[in-house]
Point group: C2
DNA sequence: TATTGTTATACTCTATAACTATA
DNA sequence: TATAGTTATAGAGTATAACAATA
């Protein structure tokens, strides 16, 4: 019965479909690689932004990652509760919260990055270094085509 | 203030991060492109599998796409209700359901594929044809690294 | 009047477990 | 005993709207 490895039809050559499957495979392996750290994809991305931009505020962090303001709250609460970041009111704008990594936050980032290195090497093990950096470049070029995330409070003109 | 385009830190060179962002951009544009058709990503993929394998059964369809049995039910119900597919009990195995596109299903597929062509051209408009097919190839090679989906009923050995 | 962060809430997607009917 | 499909349900993740405090 040929139906057990069925044809993909139109999906076969769609970049969107391949992107979805690749993303799904990456996600699953990422989650497995992070087991025991208490980190998930989005919180790790948030930590990475804060680590690279100490004192950045909550809104700018979310905007950098396409995360809506409303969804940042629980995310930041979680990281504060785990004592991986510190949150303080910005002296120059008392509405805003500035974020910085704690020492524990730096440690968990270091541990995560080590695991992620293994994870990416595993997922990309059949690629030459040049293929890998080409993939990175091609993917980066797609991002710019997205309609900027937070159109939230704007009229839908 | 340099914080308005903050550094990405470790994310910068992670394929997983770029994959996520590219995927997210693709998803948003896909949804916009499908507006009015009533089609979403997964239902379209299901239609594509059925179109390419007339009479395939529900389980095999799901397995081809990494969709769990339990989640196939509502998905197939939706496509049947929209009269895009027909569902019949398999004469050779009365537990199984065989699926085929209706004429309306073929029409909606044709319409969707036309829109998707525009969508993919838009998302990949800054790529040369060779870059585009290279991207497709690199993405396809990632999929194989995924731990096969349905480990559902098996012991976790 | 606009912006930062907050709360409450809803919707989609995916996951698990327990069931039935057939094999 | 195993497999195809089903039901019910829970958990992420992400979306919208309305609000308070500050600018």
């Amino acid at each position: 019965m040929s139906s057990e490895q069925p044809h993909l039809g139109a999906l076969e050559s769609l970049v969107g479909y391949r992107l979805r499957r690749a993303w799904s495979a990456f996600s699953a392996d990422f989650a497995a690689a992070m087991e025991g750290t208490g980190l998930r994809q989005v919180p790790l991305a948030v930590l990475s932004i804060i680590a690279a931009n100490p004192g950045i505020n909550q809104g700018a962090t979310g905007r950098a990652l396409g995360i809506k303001r409303a969804n940042m709250v629980a995310l930041i609460n979680e990281l504060v509760e785990k004592q991986w970041i510190e949150r303080a009111t910005d002296a120059n704008d008392r509405r805003a919260l500035t974020l910085t990594l704690t020492t524990a936050g730096e440690a968990v980032m270091a541990e995560a990055l080590q695991r992620i290195e293994g994870h990416e090497n595993r997922m990309l093990s059949d690629m030459q270094p040049e293929e890998r950096s080409l993939l990175l470049d091609l993917l980066s070029r797609i991002e710019r085509r997205s309609p900027s995330a937070e159109a939230e409070d704007l009229g839908n003109g």
